[in-house]
Subunit: 233 residues, 4 copies
Amino acid sequence: MGSKYKSLKEECYEANMELNALGLVIYTFGNVSAVDRGNSVFAIKPSGVPYETLKPEDIVIVDYDNQVVEGKLRPSSDTKTHSYLYKNWENIGGVAHTHAMYSVSWAQAQLDIPIFGTTHADHLTHDIPCAPPMADELIQGNYEHNTGIQILDCFKERGLDYNEVEMILIGNHGPFAWGKNAAKAVYNTKVLETVAQMAYLTLQINPDAPRLKESLIKKHYERKHGKNAYYGQ
Amino acid sequence: MGSKYKSLKEECYEANMELNALGLVIYTFGNVSAVDRGNSVFAIKPSGVPYETLKPEDIVIVDYDNQVVEGKLRPSSDTKTHSYLYKNWENIGGVAHTHAMYSVSWAQAQLDIPIFGTTHADHLTHDIPCAPPMADELIQGNYEHNTGIQILDCFKERGLDYNEVEMILIGNHGPFAWGKNAAKAVYNTKVLETVAQMAYLTLQINPDAPRLKESLIKKHYERKHGKNAYYGQ
Amino acid sequence: MGSKYKSLKEECYEANMELNALGLVIYTFGNVSAVDRGNSVFAIKPSGVPYETLKPEDIVIVDYDNQVVEGKLRPSSDTKTHSYLYKNWENIGGVAHTHAMYSVSWAQAQLDIPIFGTTHADHLTHDIPCAPPMADELIQGNYEHNTGIQILDCFKERGLDYNEVEMILIGNHGPFAWGKNAAKAVYNTKVLETVAQMAYLTLQINPDAPRLKESLIKKHYERKHGKNAYYGQ
Amino acid sequence: MGSKYKSLKEECYEANMELNALGLVIYTFGNVSAVDRGNSVFAIKPSGVPYETLKPEDIVIVDYDNQVVEGKLRPSSDTKTHSYLYKNWENIGGVAHTHAMYSVSWAQAQLDIPIFGTTHADHLTHDIPCAPPMADELIQGNYEHNTGIQILDCFKERGLDYNEVEMILIGNHGPFAWGKNAAKAVYNTKVLETVAQMAYLTLQINPDAPRLKESLIKKHYERKHGKNAYYGQ
């Protein structure tokens, strides 16, 4: 008899394989989850399984308290970060975490990614935040749960809205991204990686490159996401 | 019954798919158009449709006043920039716009790309111009139309001829390129991206790298484009 | 009649081909070996044979004194380095050597790769060591054997354990990596190359980027390799 | 009836296609030739024909005075440089010219590529020379012929032997490479491009990176090319 979570697992599987196809992960360096709000569970990649051998039936179903509801494998070691985000941010449907090259490099540099151009402004109006590394006692404690707290604290402190800013860097670690579903979380991971590379190159070419001016930030964001948006179908 | 614009749509579709094959776009980050001078219309990519799912019949036919002549989808949000160029530059047959990595990085750096070598001089004799970002009132107004004005103003101010210089960077945004047809606009986009990467690397290796000397600029441009050209068949 | 080393040769062949598939080698610029501890021999790539034409039966079986036990071709010119490591480090099952781009560039820069992030700490808790170039008399002597000595001397001097730190750079030359088998040696070569690129980019973005703090180094290494590890299946 | 140069054309065609497969050319930015010493002719790519559509029968046969011996198409615009090299360097069997990314960037920087590591020393014992741009009167004269003179002058001035140093950069232009046949010329073009990227990265990581010491240069070159060479089969 089939699982009631079959389509959720498939959505999660497809999103994970897309991470791999887009060159955002090697080996086991990443994971995507997809939530089922009606049943208060989410599907997530099993821990340490390479993308080359991953199958839809390997995907694990977990509840918001990190208990396995269905699946034979252990879920991603980052599961508690995913659950914390789902519990606190009710509008998101998918979360992705990777060690993508340029995103990680900015995270290791412990710097926000400045908004330099319209590619960035097409997606968000703020610099991409880099949360500082956690305090030692939080690292030694419930680490992955505390990573979720760290993300929310960073958003609170800076007055950011997770509905607009759908990505963050964790200092010394790497990117998390989210969105209305798992595919959108993967899309945002790719956008972040692209913008991270562009910002790196921009500063190599001109260390004094100016931030994008407010009128252009607003114009590009609004034409795609504003109430009079005219981008797309 | 078939459309009278069937072959125009196919030319436009092929050029858009070539952008993707050449690694110049991800997702929906670019668009190419192809003009039909006899009928005073052009074919352009629909807005927000990913290259993976784009079909020839999705291409939209638009007139020079941006009215849709044929097609069920909304044309690219950059349509008014394309139409402005077609209306004002009678010799061009295709226009391409992308967010290609190295071209965008120079645009974000707000710097012209200096002519450093023969790869550049094989295609044009000037630095590749980077137009400054527009004034705020132009951004808040008819933005995409004004982007066209910005391009022409930059060419007028610098005394450039669009028949020779077939590419430009818009400050903080990205590249536009054109040519006798859509395929040539895509070719010029790839040449610009290649030259942009070479110039970036050149300055990393030697920040004092000299501009190419006039005799070499002239020699390489003339052997390919001069009246005694001997390059090609 | 088949060779008693058939499966050993195949393990070695597959690992060599994986180096190529992962973009870690061009032409003949690398080699992997796999040991058979029971028979005190190892299988290694033949010298100067391109990956494009390599076949499992080309793999050469050599003993710890570098004598060919089976095979018609001459073994890799680096064979004596491999045998020295097998003889002295009883727990390793595979060794890989390449001229991968970013690893070689750090080796040519004669610098250790600093531990900047969790991607690094997921695999080892120390900076990746770069051994200095050998003294002239050792180079003029039994060069490849002395390369093995150089590796062990570097580990002794710095108090490193080859069971934890499974990779090294040889100054001005390139990377060696090892592991419980040939596939793991290749995996470590890819991890080293990835971490090398991340560290390079990190320093380009922020020349003052801080080293990863001890609590995070410990947390990430322990969750994957500690006695209470909870990463993987 | 078949051409007596059929196999020469095929050798030349295969080598040109290999340039493309190795990512060393885009569009028409490169050419390889192969010589037939017995008949005092060489086969070369036709001018301006893209690699995507190139066929073996398009290859042009030319004599050392640049006269077309067989073929319907115009030979490469760089033909006179190739013929000059064949006429003056009797041991070479193939010549390749490209606009490969990192090689061109060093050429535009007008700098020799320093010998930083064993990857370089495995192939030659000198820095890779960058010839200065030609005097204006030579550029305005018989340009491609004079490019050949420029290459030989650079070798003479520096006391280099074309049998050992099989590559050069032409300042502000790009690389030429040669070898015993066309395939070796392509191989050397790829080695040059790889070494160029490694040297660029090395200096980015450590601007004070030291040149490889003489004992290592000699050891690596001799083990592959010396009279007691033990690399390869």
